[in-house]
């Protein structure tokens, strides 16, 4: 038999290979767990965003006679807390606070950490040693301990929580960004760009950042869940958001004494933290698989 050339139609039907991002989107669209987690996350984010408009009651207005009402009531569907404040409203408002306290540090760490990591990775030499050894020092502390050390010294309050958690996450992002930069820097196309006279900035922007942002972003997304647990944990210890503001960790702390009276309502804020953190984990897992990034 003679070799038959493939008919032209077949190759057009198969089409050009899908672009990277289309492949990623195609994979995500078929990943049911990630889609469900993403939908839950969207719901949580939207309801937190709309809390001022959809919360049925004032989150800070309580009534002594209505303390620890059980869930399922007509006026208070999720019951009331130890001061008689509406739980549904407080959970909605609390979500705003917890999401802000959990997401901001990761965003800050992503921005600062990428810049530091790229500088250290691209410059190499003494700069690299200086930046990376400084980051190593922060690795001497387990994350929880570092957050508590800084927050404990600075004192309670949302700004201090954001500062301490940013310090926890910056070194982690720097490590990932640095090793990605070193890897990409060694590739031939960067050498080719440099040989053809491209300046430092164009190389950084078009070659390095374009290739490392994906992995660094995915890594940052894996840290959100921990950040939320830590942010709520600091409030739980009395180091985060100050009362009477509604925040999931703080609510869990103040309701903890009431488990002997009502076992369900005190568990709700923690359930909210858990569901949010798990949704973030599932989404970042799915993202990592779809983008084929190895942890």
């Amino acid at each position: 038999m003679s070799v038959v050339a493939l008919p032209q139609e077949v190759s057009t039907v198969a089409g050009a290979p899908m672009s990277y991002w289309r492949t990623v989107a195609w994979r995500l669209a078929r990943d049911r767990a990630t889609l469900v987690a993403g939908a839950i996350l969207l719901l949580i984010a939207v309801s937190a965003l709309l809390a001022p408009w959809i919360a049925p009651h004032d989150p800070n207005a309580g009534s002594i006679r209505l303390r620890l009402a059980p869930i399922g009531g007509a006026t208070h569907p999720l019951g009331t807390d130890e001061q008689g404040r509406d739980m549904l409203s407080r959970l909605l408002w609390g979500g705003r606070m917890t999401l802000v306290a959990g997401l901001t540090p990761v965003v800050v760490a992503f921005l600062v950490g990428t810049v530091l990591g790229v500088i250290a990775g691209y410059a190499g030499g003494l700069t690299n040693t200086l930046v990376m050894r400084t980051m190593d020092v922060f690795y001497a502390f387990p994350a929880v301990l570092l957050a508590i050390a800084i927050s404990g010294a600075l004192g309670p309050g949302l700004p201090n929580t954001l500062i301490s958690l940013s310090i926890v996450f910056i070194p982690r992002v720097v490590r990932v960004a640095e090793s990605a930069t070193v890897q990409v820097k060694g590739l031939e196309f960067v050498a080719a760009a440099r040989a053809s006279g491209a300046g430092v900035w164009p190389i950084l922007r078009h070659h390095l950042l374009a290739n490392i942002l994906g992995p660094v972003l995915v890594f940052a997304s894996t840290q959100v869940s921990l950040s939320i647990i830590l942010a709520a944990g600091l409030s739980f210890l009395g180091l985060g958001v100050t009362p009477p503001a509604a925040e999931w960790g703080l609510m869990l702390n103040t309701l903890r004494q009431s488990i002997y009276v009502n076992a369900i309502v005190p568990a709700l804020p923690g359930l909210a933290i858990f569901v949010t953190s798990m949704a973030f984990n599932l989404v970042s897992d799915g993202l990592r698989d779809a983008m084929e990034i190895r942890s």
Binding site: D136, Y139, A140, F141, L145, S277, N281
Partner: protein, 312 residues
Amino acid sequence: MWRYVGRRLVLAIPTLLGASIIVFAMVHLAPGDPIAAVMPVDASKEQVEAVKKAYGFDQPLPVQYLKWLGRVVTGDLGKSIATRRAVILDVRDALANSLVLAASSSLMAFVAGIALGLLAAFRQGRALDKIASGIAVIGVSVPHYWAGIILIIIFSVQLNWLPAMGAASDGGVVDYARHMALPTIALALIPLGVIARVVRSAALDVLAQEFVLALRAKGLAHRRVFTHVVKNAAPQTITVLGLQFGFQLGGSVLVEAVFSWPGTGYLLNLAIFQRDIPVLQGVILVLATFFVLLNLLVDVLQTFIDPRIARH
């Protein structure tokens, strides 16, 4: 290999020094005057100056740091502002309790996590893998302080099986174990999830290698293939185990707060409430030192298990 071990030891020194600088800086991070907490409100200016001098706060920061470091390496962590007791004594007692808790929860997490991870890897894609992976995701996502509260609600409030608070008072082993049960479970959840995930992916990596195919092709029994996979996945797993044990010590703060377990976390919690900075510093410094040494030990152990690492 010994050269690698030596180099690794030397590298730990700047890390420890850096950590000590962070801990030292905590006093100056704290808002207000560092001695405001110990001075009466109506103290005269001369009195304030005298106390400042006595504590050495009138000297330049580097001098203060070196003097402080000199005391710390001899085991003098200062005195608690609240109790006037030497910090080192409080930390020592608390550390013993925390170590016991960290050991028991690590043991639980290691055994369950490794079993779960291997199970998932060898049944990849099947129902058992999905269940095991699901448990692992729950483990890494659950706020362990909340898990502790849920355990108290179920086993102490509703069933009345186990005590909710504190450590044993009368010193009996059974009583101690009963007090330890719930905090152990709560603390084991996160490392269980992490370890299961790492073991699964490490085992899958090994399973994908050609030598496994060769072993199977030559007709090696399933059980023997399993041993080969475990051996090859071990170095990566051991790193994670070591790290997780360290995290257990530092991460137990929240769980100890929930259960009033008299460990370092509880001490830390107390120090935060009383703004007792010397205790805060002492606990954190001791835990960080412990953590760095543990990492060192893991690295060294790893090179003995897998000598290829030392050559990189």
